[in-house]
């Protein structure tokens, strides 16, 4: 059984780490979570990003957050990746599998997965 004592132990472990993390977040992954996004399947996409980033040991430089409607509801779930000094990348028609792939290839490997971007979808 999960107990509050376990949560207490997590707190002790994280207390120092969290201070270190403040001010980081070189890469921001933002998932659109308005009605359109949620209806199209944004919840599992968000959770896949959270899991892949953390299990992949990338949490020190990557933050995953939620936002409202990004504006192209027909292409939801939509995900934006912001990286310092780089142009924003917008991924469309996302699912959990694509999310894992993007963490591997783009976030970890530094190579944008062109075929899932809005640019590729529109052309």
């Amino acid at each position: 059984m999960k107990t509050l004592a376990e949560l207490q132990a997590i707190k002790e472990k994280m207390k120092n780490k969290v201070v270190l993390r403040e001010g980081s977040g070189e890469i921001r992954i933002v998932v659109g979570m308005a009605t359109c996004g949620i209806a199209a399947g944004a919840r599992p996409v968000l959770n896949a990003f959270v899991e892949a980033v953390n299990e992949g040991g990338l949490s020190d430089k990557v933050t995953v957050s939620q936002t409202g409607c990004i504006g192209c509801c027909e292409l939801e779930p939509v995900v934006e990746v912001f990286e310092a000094d780089k142009e924003k990348v917008t991924y469309v028609k996302m699912n959990a599998e694509k999310a894992k792939e993007i963490v591997q290839k783009h976030i970890k490997g530094g190579k944008v997965v062109a075929e899932y971007t809005i640019a590729s979808y529109k052309s």
Partner: protein
């Protein structure tokens, strides 16, 4: 929406946007129905707004002119023979209560789906807001109060991954007994 839990996620986002410090999500399940109550202490709406949120052409979003959160919930409830009710107050004791009744045995009842995922997603996205979640079924219940977790965590954010994982397992284990 494929699951009611997604409607819940969507409606609670409104509470957070209204500046709620605490949002209570209550599911009361009996043999033939589910009563959902979402109660927040956000800024509330005036009478005109309460009337108009049921209209799909009302939205606070600026990217387009249609909002669908409440109309979708209303549809999900009404298609089972149930319905929704909204009570909201501005000024003193401000807040909003959205309640919905669903008849479970109706052929058009949308399954509840992954409620744990909805709660975890809300906490992940809004770690500084409090949520009280209770799912009652017969004489048993599942409960999570982020205020209690916050007290234990003493400043460690509720959306730090280890905490999220703990919360998820904590809820899942409770659901095994429901």
């Amino acid at each position: 929406m494929k699951e009611l839990s997604l409607n819940i996620l969507d409606i609670v986002e409104n509470s957070v946007k209204a500046g709620a410090a605490l949002t209570e999500i209550l599911l009361e399940e009996t043999e033939d129905k589910i009563v959902l109550t979402i109660k927040d202490d956000g800024c509330g709406m005036d009478e005109q707004m309460v009337k108009s949120v049921i209209d799909p052409f009302c939205t606070t979003r600026t990217t387009r002119k249609v909002g669908l959160g409440i109309p979708l919930l209303k549809m999900a409830a009404e298609q089972t023979g149930g319905g929704i009710d909204i009570v909201s107050k501005q000024g003193e004791n401000h807040g909003t209560i959205v309640s919905a009744v669903f008849f479970k045995n109706h052929i058009d009842f949308t399954p509840l789906g992954d409620v744990v995922s909805t709660i975890v997603t809300l906490i992940q996205g809004h770690p500084d807001t409090d949520f009280l979640f209770i799912h009652k079924k017969d004489d048993k219940e599942v409960q999570l109060d982020t205020r209690m977790l916050r007290e234990v965590l003493e400043g460690v954010p509720l959306n730090c991954y280890e905490v999220i994982k703990w919360t998820q397992d904590y809820l899942k284990e409770q659901y095994e007994g429901l």
